[in-house]
């Protein structure tokens, strides 16, 4: 019995069935609990009430979702380019590492939510502060991971290329970059989530659009089911993008065991 269950855990079916069971079970418990203890809907709405809100407000939620998605993807694209560039520089040059790394780490410890009011002063409300906040959150893990990927190339691997008379650029493109790919992809999954966090933080403070704004305004009018509907939309987009990058990683890094 124990053995056959262990074998089941290894199957493809298990990887689909088990998470589904957990989600359904959580929702059922939630629904039953709210009903049983008579929790008012402005404290914790039941899943069915959230579903109803999603249905009722679907055009609004969709519009705000698109706003959030736009700023998130824009920021993520910028973070990808900026992070890879900065990470490559820090990872390839000892000088750049010494000069820039402490600054980078120091800057990263600042809570980005504290920057949003300043960004609003400089850039007004809406898309720009959201993109900047999301960028600032997302680019750090990318830069650090690319730098680590480059710095951990084995000296022997470098020697293989050097003994062939390869230039620094050839060593970078043929060994450094491929070696840091697994590190890059690990960071992308974190960075895309961070980008969402950044967009939503900025929208709650400095915007009149986006899911962050929707959730804050719904909560302030005690429309908690709508706020939850916004959260669900956020969660769905996050999971979708995470899945996309996980699949891309599997494809690009197919050489791995």
């Amino acid at each position: 019995m124990k053995k056959s269950f262990d074998r089941f855990l290894q199957t493809q079916t298990a990887s689909v069935v088990l998470p589904a069971v957990t989600i359904v079970l959580t929702l059922v418990l939630w629904q039953v609990g709210v009903g049983l203890f008579n929790v008012p809907r402005f404290i914790l709405p039941a899943p069915t009430q959230i579903l109803a809100a999603m249905n009722q407000w679907s055009p609004v939620i969709l519009r705000h979702s698109l706003t959030t998605l736009t700023s998130t993807l824009l920021a993520f694209a910028l973070a990808l380019v900026g992070g890879i560039l900065l990470g490559s520089i820090i990872g390839s040059s000892r000088l750049a590492h010494l000069c820039l790394y402490p600054l980078l780490v120091g800057f990263n410890t600042i809570p980005k939510v504290a920057l949003v009011p300043l960004l609003a002063i400089w850039f007004g409300l809406g898309l720009i502060p959201a993109v900047i906040t999301a960028f600032l959150l997302a680019f750090f893990p990318i830069a650090v991971n690319v730098a680590v990927g480059l710095e951990t190339v084995e000296a022997e691997m470098r020697d293989v290329l050097r003994s062939l008379g390869a230039s620094s650029w050839e060593i970078f493109t043929k060994v450094g970059l491929p070696h840091s790919m697994p590190y890059l992809f690990a960071s992308l999954k974190v960075a895309i989530s961070f980008a969402f966090v950044g967009s939503v933080i900025s929208e709650t403070v400095a915007s009149n659009q986006g899911l962050g704004y929707l959730i804050v305004s719904a909560s302030s009018s005690f429309d908690v089911p709508l706020a939850f509907a916004g959260l669900v939309a956020l969660g769905l987009m996050g999971v979708l993008l995470y899945t996309f990058f996980a699949a891309l990683e599997r494809y690009v890094l197919s050489w791995r065991q």
Binding site: E156, D159, V160, R162, L164, G165, E170, P178, W255, R256
Partner: protein, 286 residues
């Protein structure tokens, strides 16, 4: 097959304390070491690893360097490749002082160091993407390059594995692939740093035969670092024995066994005599 009998190999002759004396070889030396020394910086006074090493290597000669651990054999090899230029004395490659990485060296390390994101074939093709003049026309001649890479892989018994990634190969297969990579661009100088140390005895002997075959075919000059005295005698024209740190060449030996040498030669009295002669000098140095 131009190798056989190129060198004037007299009787196995010994040159004890051959700090300066170079072996009797014909023609201009491909590689020459003059008073090479190496210090390793520490917090206190620097440690001298190599005191004074001089010898020269003739065209198409197969040279082995043996010696105790930590005597600077690997460092010496890196100097020959131009990877380490922070040393005393001078090394010459084709009469030019070595000041930086040489352009066309084939190098195989103790670890195979294959690039894990490349298939076996792509790993073997790597030098052709980097080394002049191949790199200029790499894309145009790809089909031809692939053909010669596949031939090379076949000679080491790796046919059918060209699409495999390094993790799918066994240790011996990886090592063989790394030898192919060291040879694909037909380097003039082949530098081998204990390439077979991690292999089991049977695989290792197969690799000796294979290496001898490839070396006879390409006619390159080869330097092999090894701990295995049988390996050194089987493969070499000349063996240099380095002493313990601070090291110098304490003994050199010409191996005058006919080529190509079959594995059975390891069972002959002459072979045993040569091995024990080298061994005695390694013992004496402690």
């Amino acid at each position: 097959m131009k190798i056989i009998g190129v060198e004037s190999m007299l009787e196995s002759q010994r040159v004890v304390q051959s700090g300066l004396s170079s072996p009797a070889v014909s023609g201009k030396p491909v590689l020459e070491l003059r008073h090479v020394s190496l210090q390793y910086p520490t917090k206190g006074s620097p440690i001298t690893i190599i005191r004074d090493v001089s010898f020269s290597v003739a065209h198409s000669e197969f040279v082995s360097i043996v010696g105790p651990s930590g005597c600077g054999k690997t460092s010496l090899l890196k100097m020959m490749a131009g990877l380490n230029t922070d040393h005393g004395g001078t090394l010459y490659f084709q009469l030019q002082p070595i000041a930086g990485p040489l352009k066309s060296v084939g190098m195989a390390f103790q670890n195979p160091v294959l690039l894990p994101w490349r298939t076996t074939l792509e790993n073997v093709l790597l030098p052709l993407e980097v080394v002049e003049p191949y790199k200029r026309t790499f894309k145009q001649n790809l089909a031809q390059h692939e053909k010669s890479a596949l031939e090379l892989l076949a000679t080491v018994g790796l046919e059918g594995f060209q699409k495999a990634y390094p993790w799918q190969l066994s240790g011996g297969m990886r090592q063989r692939a790394s030898l192919c990579r060291a040879l694909i661009h037909q380097p003039e100088l082949l530098l081998l740093d204990e390439p077979f140390a991690a292999l089991d005895a049977f695989t290792r002997e197969d690799m000796w035969e294979m290496l001898q075959r490839l070396w006879l075919r390409t006619g390159c000059t080869a330097i092999l670092i090894t701990h295995d005295l049988r390996e050194a005698v089987f493969l070499s024209d000349t063996i240099y024995v380095m002493g313990p740190r601070p090291s110098e060449i304490i003994f050199s030996l010409k191996v005058d066994l006919p080529r190509p040498r079959p594995l059975e030669i390891c069972l002959t009295d002459e072979f045993h005599r040569l091995v024990s002669e080298v061994r005695q000098h390694i013992r004496r140095s402690y």
